[in-house]
Amino acid sequence: MNRQELVALLSGILFGLGLAIAQMTDPNKVLNFLDFTGHWDPSLALVMGAALLVAVPGFRFVLRRPAPRWAPAFELPKRRDIDRRLLAGSALFGIGWGICGFCPGPAIVSLSTLSSGALVIVLAMAAGALLHDLVFRRRGAGAVKPMPTPIS
């Protein structure tokens, strides 16, 4: 394991623990957040708010540095335009999220239950992503650019 992989592992563990502690892995809590008319549970808003409380100043601080600690450059999305794909894709995601109560993070964390239900959810998510790429032919070599220089 190199240093980048160690950072990624620790980041993943923190994220997974955060989702678990916040009970965002409980689809009922997510669906009850999305239901103003029922027994509204505002927890999800507080999770995002607390995450932003750390990430907004954190990103500002980190992005002032010339480069990340263990990589040659920051890899940030460059697009600024609001296009149809962004809108339609986000809309479809919202509909799916409202149906199942899982966004990708909590679904993957749920694999820790080793339950067939969690596996079905993650496989269905993968199938949807692959179907998208089959339809729009975007996956494969070149979809993700290689790093400028190799990291040891």
Partner: protein, 143 residues
């Protein structure tokens, strides 16, 4: 419908950990912790050196869940009956399709994107939130 209580303390604590996680990945590796993007890109071919960290990040998510399970109890509940699981799987497929098409989910757009003051991410977040609200309203009151 299962009622859930507002849990401000655990929500805030979990949120702080999630915020720390995305800052750590940007600080160390210069990467955005967008889970749909990390997950989706591992399903296809990747250049050399691009797969490893993604695998560790996704593995870390599961380990986070296992650590929580060891101390508190298993995360979830996860539905097991086909009656619940069939519509949920359809929803999950839409989540996979939509996050690929819209280049992000709750983490990539909702947390990282908003933290970079990205207008694209703000529009995406407002869109999936609005459709999430509308979908739950329709399924709970008309179906």
């Amino acid at each position: 419908m299962t009622e859930t209580a507002f849990t401000p303390v655990s929500a805030a604590l979990g949120g702080l950990l999630i915020g720390s996680s995305v800052v750590l990945l940007l600080w160390g590796n210069g990467r955005i912790a967008g889970i749909s993007g990390v997950f989706g890109s591992t399903l296809g071919r990747l250049p050399r050196g691009e797969r490893g960290w993604r695998g560790y990040f996704l593995g870390g998510l599961v380990i986070g869940g296992l650590l929580y399970a060891a101390v508190v109890g298993a995360v979830g509940p996860v539905m097991e009956q086909a009656q619940q699981l069939m519509p949920a799987a359809l929803g999950a497929a839409l989540v996979g399709f939509g996050t690929s098409m819209g280049s992000g989910c709750t983490s990539g757009h909702g947390i990282c994107g908003l933290s970079r003051w990205s207008t694209r991410s703000l529009v995406a977040t407002l869109t999936f939130m609005a459709l999430g609200f509308a979908t739950v309203y329709l399924t709970r009151h008309f179906l």
